[in-house]
């Protein structure tokens, strides 16, 4: 039940980001200056955190999506669907532990 809520909220958030992301990338068609100005905002500390949230939302939605596919397809997965929720969170933790230090070093460390 909670994973259903997580799947919906992350899905809706990603959809709205996708619209904004296509619009900001469309600025490459306007001028290099326009694109660089707008994309420069993505490099501020606030957006660095929002990007971390975005990667978190995509990872959760992706892993839980795989769980939904498995539960629909195989009875063994249906029997163990609660245990699979734990695997979703473990996979999510591994991705974030890999991504966050790298991303924060890029954004804050000047690396």
């Amino acid at each position: 039940m909670w994973m259903w809520v997580v799947h919906r909220t992350t899905g809706i958030a990603i959809f709205f980001f996708l619209i904004v992301h296509v619009l900001d990338t469309a600025l490459v068609r306007v001028s290099p200056e326009a694109y660089n100005t707008v994309i420069g905002h993505y490099k501020t500390p606030l957006y660095t955190l929002i990007e971390a949230g975005l990667v978190a939302a995509i990872s959760l939605h992706a892993l839980n999506g795989l769980r939904v596919i498995a539960v629909d397809k195989w009875t063994w997965a249906l029997r163990r669907q609660k245990m699979l929720v734990w695997w979703v969170w473990i996979g999510f933790a591994i991705i974030m532990i890999g991504f966050l230090p790298r991303h924060f070093m890029h954004a804050f460390g000047g690396a």
Partner: protein, 150 residues
């Protein structure tokens, strides 16, 4: 023993030949596109945010360098279509679940359809009409291969 209540107005049987088929395709599409999007977005995020200089490397020259290659044009095109249809289909389910008033349901459904089409058309135009070396632009902002043309 208590008696089961009599059904006065049973629901109409759903026509599985039309509505059922559409829902089945939407169900299959959501799963197939979802699996493909995991691979595409993992590559997209790795190339743009993890490798090299991460978020700091993203500027016009970086994007122009990528989109000058047909591989990335078609990669981004596939990702754009699959993501917008997958997301639009998911949003349709959310609207169907919560927007119960007919006028609200119709308004949101049409807003979603228009948004989805506009974003797909805009994104496709940008990907395939894009010039990585626009004339009269500041050369310092362009990818390095643009020098060969000037």
């Amino acid at each position: 023993m208590s008696q089961a209540p009599e059904l006065k107005a049973p629901n109409k049987a759903i026509s599985h030949s039309t509505l059922g088929r559409a829902r089945r395709w939407s169900w299959i599409f959501q799963r197939v596109s979802g699996a493909l999007l995991i691979a595409l977005i993992a590559i997209h995020l790795t190339v743009n945010l993890v490798r090299g200089d991460g978020i700091n490397q993203i500027d016009f020259a970086f994007v122009a360098g990528k989109l000058a290659s047909p591989f990335w044009q078609w990669f981004d095109f596939t990702m754009l279509i699959l993501a917008m249809v997958h997301g639009g289909n998911g949003m349709r389910m959310v609207i169907d679940d919560y927007a119960r008033k007919p006028w609200l349901h119709a308004t949101l459904t049409w807003a979603l359809r228009i948004t989805t089409v506009v974003i797909i058309v805009l994104g496709t135009l940008v990907l395939f009409t894009f010039d990585p070396c626009p004339a009269n632009a500041d050369p310092s902002l362009l990818p390095s291969f643009c020098e060969d043309f000037s």
